[in-house]
């Protein structure tokens, strides 16, 4: 009998305390319980918010010449990215302005950026859309070192861009500055906000981080690992893409028409051809590997490191650069860190070991700042694939009630869910 008490205690411990669920999946109402499906497909069309169409928005693309020397240093086929482009949507009268920072490798006009623009434009903001510091155009046209990954330096680059953008539109009537970003852009938003406390140019009123990485190294390791899932039934001849392609062909043949709509992915996952978790993970991993290849190639070329492109190799608009693409594809995020980021960090910033780098570039570096800054909030998902164990604990400790944790959504899959877009607006205009 006396044994029963420790036993009960033990069992109780093993079962763990009830998870601090902020929101039950039922109350939340987001239908996709599979994080990989949510990451790929996003929200089903009828649960998305109603947003203004493109012709209802007064907007334009502009460009800035920030690094004039690159005009001469970069090869001819980079002509389109020698100036940094951005998109600005303006309200008629005075209004607050919000900067939006894109996620890993993403362009200022990518899908998620357009979504956030529409949400905040509808909410009465001027909106500035900026490419990610990890993207090809930003690296070529705006980044000082063109070796993204040192968060504080990336934020510094972003800050200069933001100042240049405002200088480019002196007539714009701005009542206050706000800042947001999703995925890696969320992490950048925190570092930019921190920098702003010193430089005081914008005095951001509200900063929202959407699905940011907590430990950057955990996130890139997770992403690198996604292409290592066991994908069943790949015969020697057929590659993974061919297999995906076959499934798509069968699906369309069965359906009888080629209808590429937003509902396609949901319908596809209901069909016989549906993808397994492993296959979806592989697709997500592959798309990030393409981003990694772009970073590896661009960073190496601009800095003339000679790892991918031999320095001085003549490149004009007709040059076949596919061989360099092949070489860059073999390098994942981990390889990029080891071959380019860490050596650059050691050389330029007197850097030390890998754990030191990880601490400096992750949210840990800003822990004290974030704990005491009421204007910064974070939205995250309990099943986000870029997080590791303990990351949510860090966010809970640091942000307290300023963390909104959604039970579902994968990585950014619920960004276009009505509940989320409403919460974003509610936070930005209290």
């Amino acid at each position: 009998m006396p044994h029963l008490i420790p036993l009960a205690l033990l069992l109780g411990l093993l079962a763990g305390p009830a998870p601090a669920a902020d929101l039950s999946p039922d109350a939340y109402g987001f239908p996709l319980s599979n994080p990989f499906e949510a990451t790929i497909a996003g929200t089903p069309p009828d649960l998305r918010p109603e947003l203004p169409g493109d012709d209802e928005i007064s907007q334009g693309d502009y460009s800035l010449l920030l690094r004039p020397e690159r005009e001469y240093k970069l090869p001819a086929n980079f002509w389109a990215v020698k100036k940094l482009r951005y998109r600005l949507a303006t309200q008629d009268g005075p209004a607050p302005l919000i900067f939006i920072i894109a996620g890993t490798g993403a362009h200022y006009a990518s899908g998620n950026m357009e979504l956030l623009k529409k949400v905040f434009y509808q909410g009465g903001f001027h909106v500035v859309q900026l490419s990610s510091p990890t993207s090809y155009d930003f690296m070529a046209a705006a980044s000082r070192f063109a070796t993204p990954g040192i968060s504080a330096e990336d934020a510094d680059d972003l800050y200069r861009v933001m100042q240049a953008v405002m200088a480019n539109h002196p007539q714009l009537d701005v009542t206050g500055y706000h800042l947001t970003g999703y995925s890696l852009g969320g992490l950048h938003a925190a570092f930019v906000s921190h920098l702003d406390e010193q430089r005081r140019h914008f005095n951001f009123q509200r900063v929202l981080m959407i699905n940011p990485p907590v430990n950057l190294y955990t996130s890139v390791t997770n992403l690198d690992r996604l292409v290592q899932t066991q994908v069943a039934d790949i015969r020697d001849a057929a590659s993974f893409y061919e297999r995906m392609f076959e499934k798509l062909t069968h699906y369309f043949q069965h359906k009888g028409s080629l209808d590429m709509s937003a509902a396609l992915l949901f319908d596809f996952q209901q069909s016989q051809q549906r993808l397994s978790d492993e296959e979806m993970a592989m697709l997500i991993g592959a798309s990030f590997r393409f981003s990694a290849a772009d970073i590896v190639f661009t960073s190496d070329l601009i800095n003339r490191r000679g790892l991918i492109t031999p320095p001085g190799y003549p490149i004009d608009e007709g040059t076949e650069i596919t061989p360099f693409f092949r070489r860059a594809l073999l390098c994942d995020f981990d390889c990029y860190m080891a071959e380019q980021l860490v050596p650059m960090w050691r050389k330029r910033f007197d850097g030390g070991s890998l754990p030191q780098l990880v601490n400096a570039v992750s949210l840990y570096a800003l822990e004290d700042y974030l704990r005491n800054s009421d204007k910064v909030a974070v939205m995250h998902n309990a099943d986000d694939i870029i997080l590791g164990p303990g990351d949510l604990g860090f966010l809970r400790r640091t942000f307290g009630s300023r963390l909104t944790l959604y039970p579902r959504g994968g990585h950014c899959g619920n960004m276009n869910y009505r509940v989320n877009t409403q919460a974003m607006l509610d936070f930005m205009r209290p």
């Binding site: 305390p17 601090a20 993403a106 362009h107 292409v227 899932t229 590997r289 949510l392």
Partner: protein
């Protein structure tokens, strides 16, 4: 005593997998560990991504240097001429006019779709397209309204390149056409054939009007085509945009031909 220990142990062992499953489901801080649902390659040394991608880069493109130059030319033309014209068009016309223009030209294009659908012996599809042309040309007033789509008859595209492909003609070398963009030898031939057929059939007299004194109809058609195409240069945002577009074009055509 010993017996009690034993039961304790069995209980513990029994409890283990359950509690493990619970920690797998949700951490103390609410994290659900999505990656632990996946089966990974034990050595983490799978090279399927690399293999697939390297294979995918293998598109027959003997004219690559020329094609790349044309690609850059198209990008500049798009940026400096094409898109500004489309933007002006968008600014000076109300939306219902633009959709009327798109529907009108799409309706004319349906004649070519019908022709190719018949050539491929697609019975049901040919009937659907015939019904589309009939409804849109009558109830839709010369195709200005796409009433057929609302009646559940979606648009099908069939061009002569697809017809050739359906009969087993290989795609031939990849080509980037000036102004028009990605193509290949087969589809370029198909494009020329479609253009010729459309002139011969001359549905609603548009081709004749366009060649005798109203070339602006072609102009409007081209602007409308660009207006309907959502692709923007640079949005792939990669130094390897050329390779990616080439792959997607080749695969998309295969998909259209097989379907």
């Amino acid at each position: 005593m010993l017996r009690q220990r034993f039961t304790l142990l069995t209980l513990l062992i029994l409890a283990m997998p359950i509690s493990q499953a619970q920690t797998l489901a949700t951490d103390e801080d609410g994290f659900t560990r999505p990656l632990e649902r996946l089966t990974f390659n034990p050595g983490l040394d799978q090279r399927e991504f690399e293999r697939s991608t390297l294979l995918a880069l293998d598109v027959y493109d003997p004219l690559e240097p020329w094609n790349r130059r044309v690609y850059h030319f198209n990008q500049r033309f798009d940026e400096w001429v094409f898109l500004p014209v489309v933007n002006t068009y968008q600014a000076v016309t109300p939306r219902f006019v633009r959709s009327g223009v798109s529907n009108f030209f799409n309706n004319i294009g349906d004649v070519g779709n019908l022709f190719n659908s018949l050539l491929q012996l697609k019975g049901q599809r040919s009937m659907e397209i015939t019904a589309r042309v009939l409804f849109n040309s009558t109830f839709g007033v010369f195709g200005l309204w796409d009433v057929a789509s609302r009646m559940g008859l979606p648009r099908h595209r069939e061009d002569f390149g697809q017809t050739l492909g359906a009969y087993g003609v290989p795609s031939g070398p990849y080509l980037v056409l000036p102004f028009l963009g990605p193509s290949n030898l087969r589809d370029t031939a198909g494009l020329a054939a479609d253009f010729w057929v459309e002139g011969e059939i001359d549905y609603l007299g548009v081709s004749e009007a366009a060649s005798y004194g109203h070339p602006e109809i072609y102009g409007l058609r081209v602007v409308d085509l660009r207006y309907q195409t959502s692709f923007r240069y640079g949005q792939v945002n990669s130094p390897f945009e050329y390779e990616k577009v080439r792959y997607v074009y080749s695969k998309a055509r295969e998909l259209q031909i097989s379907e």
